[in-house]
Symmetry: C2
DNA sequence: ATGCATGCAAACACTTTGCATTCTC
DNA sequence: GAGAATGCAAAGTGTTTGCATGCAT
């Protein structure tokens, strides 16, 4: 599901909302994001600044929320205390997350049957599906090797956690 | 997986931690919670006050976090902006959630294959599973009937949302 | 022209933390 | 007795909101 300025406008207008330069730029950032990356509101704000786009943080927050409710973005609640956003991907790219409680390292995986089962559940109850996310909470191999949880220094983090956004 | 004071103590001590009256009382609240109910830290704090247990809010927060990391509690990240906790249930009681973005109404459902697939994914990567949660984001029938999203007054909420904790 | 959207700053809710004290092991 | 845990108050974080102004429709 790839949006153009026009299709975004159409979808916004259909709901009485408007296409603004800010919303267009935000969508753009997400469309140019490498597969598998997701941004927090603050990260998105930085990204926009880097591209010389002056958009206030409030507008960033308002936009990602709106676009998530529209089903354009996907709101991820991983274990980091703040939300991340990515483009909502159609079925073949739909994925889920494995998260380590120790270092917050996140791994993605695809699994179509989870979406299928969510759909089934929605139909059964008369709900309309927007998204489904499986979050698998785990301890990563590095932490296990370090003897999690007893022998772990309280501020130790797995080395690979640096790969996290 | 039902805990007694003794088994809780054993599990804490094994990690160099201690059994305190506070932790015991908190576990108790969860064990007496009707199936399907989950509490936020604040709600848990209220519940404790109602039972004449004076436990500081900080301790409540520290305890639920600790017990979640130990796998005794399950930390739920639904759509309400704050975390909820419930006893971690063994496989037959393991469940997932359907949440309405409009009213936050939450419905539970069970599905063993999701846990199985999460386990499979963990084994493949060498991760140790603590929990897996499927959150299905939806629009509930009431909101659809009201014409979500365009014709919905901005402060309208589905009537059934009152059933939410 | 209407009224939705923005930007700013201030407010917010939830959660975490420092430190002296208390209690478990 | 050593060190973990508590309670309090204060600080922190990510997020939301009120309001005047600007802009898309």
């Amino acid at each position: 599901m790839s949006y153009t300025a026009d299709s975004l406008k159409a979808e916004l207008n259909a709901r009485g909302w408007r296409l603004t330069p800010q919303r267009e730029k935000i969508l753009n950032i997400f469309q140019n994001l490498p597969e598998g990356e997701h941004l927090s509101a603050e990260e998105l704000h930085h990204r926009l600044e880097e591209e010389k786009e002056k958009i206030s943080l409030s507008t960033v927050y308002r936009s990602v929320k709106l676009m998530s409710r529209m089903g354009i973005l996907r709101e991820l609640e991983l274990a980091e205390g703040h939300k991340h956003y990515e483009l909502q991907q159609a079925s073949p790219h739909h994925h889920h997350h494995v998260v380590c409680v120790q270092c917050n390292r996140t791994i993605e995986f695809k699994n179509d049957s989870i979406l299928k089962q969510s759909l089934k559940q929605c139909e059964k109850e008369g709900f309309q599906l927007i998204d489904c996310q499986l979050t698998v909470t785990t301890i990563c191999p590095e932490a296990i090797r370090m003897g999690w949880p007893s022998t772990l220094p309280s501020n130790w983090a797995c080395t690979r956690s640096i790969s996290l956004a």
